[in-house]
């Protein structure tokens, strides 16, 4: 399969499972802003997606609001983000600053005058419990508006008990909310060899349950990568596990940026989320 096609398929699923309205909205659509009670400028609300990641014609879903980010934006047009749980140096063509700098640039481009400050505290392969422990200190020192947390994959690989994982993540999300910090979770990777792995799937289910119970935004990387794999199995092209993982990272920045933007303009009262790829 051509890389652009694979990335396009990834885009479909990541966009859907992020619950990002903007991912399904054509670039010309005009989302209603909740910021300052003023209608958002359409060109400011939706980051432009690169050609190889662009995917037209997606069904509509609802965004999960990010009230603290919206409030920060309203106050001083500065958004402070802590990224944790994975290295920004993973994936193909990382470039200077990694894919987090892409998120920063896209967000700043999408909202006029916005200053995004990303504090990259990612350590690849870090377990949720270790990240959660560091996160509290980092929140105290940085006072962010948003935490972007990649989690689950390595807890599953390292055989972390599911209940322990759920407790850690649930408590941390609650703690962050109590401290007026929004959270976006980036879900697990898809690997064919782990599709039937009991521990891996149990952690994945646990993460889905947390997302549903806590109503947090999730970027559905697993489902996107699975679609690519299924397409490959249908004979469209060849992808090994290594290429598949790199593709999972490649469009991540763009879809995180879109999901964040849609969260900014979502209504504060969350509506039921559409999870078409849920299995």
């Amino acid at each position: 399969m051509r890389r652009a096609t694979r990335l396009g398929l990834a885009a479909v699923l990541i966009g859907l499972l992020a619950g990002s309205a903007s991912a399904q909205t054509p670039p010309q659509a005009k989302p209603k802003s909740q910021i300052s009670g003023q209608p958002a400028q359409p060109s400011q609300a939706v980051p432009t997606i690169s050609q190889e990641c662009r995917t037209p014609g997606l069904p509509r879903a609802h965004a999960v609001p990010l009230p603290n980010v919206a409030s920060a934006l309203k106050k001083n047009k500065v958004i402070s983000i802590i990224t944790i749980g994975a290295s920004s140096r993973a994936g193909r063509d990382v470039g200077a600053g990694g894919y987090y700098s892409v998120i920063e640039r896209m967000l700043e481009k999408s909202v006029k005058g916005l200053d995004v400050r990303i504090h990259d505290r990612g350590v690849s392969g870090e377990l949720a419990a270790d990240a959660a422990r560091r996160l509290m200190t980092e929140v105290a020192l940085i006072n962010p508006d948003l935490v972007l947390w990649q989690l689950g994959t390595h807890d599953a690989l390292q055989q972390v008990p599911v209940d322990e994982f759920k407790t850690t993540v649930g408590r941390t999300i609650d703690w962050l909310r109590e401290h007026k910090v929004d959270v976006v979770l980036v879900g697990m990777h898809y690997i064919k060899g782990l599709a039937k792995d009991a521990q891996y799937q149990a952690i994945r289910r646990a993460l889905n349950e947390i997302v549903a119970a806590k109503r947090v935004m999730r970027i559905g990387r697993y489902e996107a990568m699975r679609v690519i794999d299924h397409a490959n199995q249908a004979g469209v092209g060849e992808t090994d596990e290594f290429t598949l993982t790199e593709d999972g990272y490649s469009c991540l920045a763009e879809y995180v940026a879109r999901a964040l933007t849609s969260g900014l303009f979502a209504r504060n009262k969350p509506r039921p989320r559409v999870l078409p790829g849920k299995s």
Binding site: A86, S87, S88, R89, A90, G91, R92, V94, G97, G98, Y100, D120, R121, G122, V123, S124, G125, E126, L127, R134, M136, T137, V139, A140, L141, N143, T153, H154, L157, Q158, Q159, V160, P161, H179, H189, I191, K192, G193, L194, Q199, D240, E241, F242, L244, T245, E246
Partner: protein, 360 residues
Amino acid sequence: MARKANAVDFWRGFALVTIFINHVPGIFYEQFTHRNISLSDSADLFVFLAGWSLRLIVGRPEDPTPLGRVMFRLGNRILTIYVAHIAIIMIAIAMLASAAVLLDNPLLLEWHNAAAVFYDPVNAHIGLVLLTHQLGYFDILPLYVVLMALAPIFLLVHRFAPNWLLPVSLALYFTTLVFRLSLPTWPTNGTWFFNPLAWQIYFVLGFTLARERGMGGWVRRHIFWLRLAAIPIVVYGLLVVQLHWWPDPTKVPEPKLLFLLSKTYATPLRVIQFLALITVMSMAYPYIERWIGLIPGYLSRLGRNSLYVFCVGSVLSLGCQILRYIYKGGFLLDTAFLLAALAILWLTAWLADKREDRKK
């Protein structure tokens, strides 16, 4: 002949074994290491004892080793530690790569902050050599290299103004905490997991307390009362760990790092708890030696060959993680891994002892 079992080697051996266990996340025996009841862990003990051992290089106060020879030995030691670190991270990278290929699982390439090595190899390899890129669980030796590089400064202060050494160290420590100084990592964004500017306090405390004069002598003279004062601190540390009896980190006043619990910055509460813990536990060795005869001999052998044992232990812990991923862990498997690892660590130390004996 290798030196006899003693308290310092024993506790260093203890630190090495518990570091090995703590570096296999999820292993059954992880719940029994002292970090589950203490704010500090084996890393603090390891660095403190590294400072303590520095005393051996400088010699006794009445017969100090010439400065030139001290500096030569320090340089030699820095080079040895650096080469050992580079060797084990290369082995670790090869292990992760092999496991990823053999198991067809690219996610293993991301373990322990290794992603940059595989996804951004040009920059990451420069970073590995410069120590600005470190693998998780393989980050104590870079700290040790920097501390040994700082050691000549500490030793010069100690030689010409011994009473100024601890104040100088404390000044650097508090400046680091107040102004949040740290060493950056590269090519990944971030800072060193063990901030050497803060962790030097353990190194200097170890060196200072090892002296039989000055503060070390004062502590020895008042050890009974110090132990009495230390017990409530140790108990409080236990309550903080078990019941989270510590104020909300966002609510503490500035400078926040003076009040937060941070391993990276070795914040004051952690250091105070560590000092209290070793004050209390320093009375234990004679009893252990008397009642559990084999253990002091075993751990002391590991402790007196600490660099070899640490390196082998680091590689073994990664091996255990990969095997636990393949075989899904479990009590029996974890027990088998631990026993095998303890045997290999002992063999490593025994071979090192034999090599030393042959030299003599």
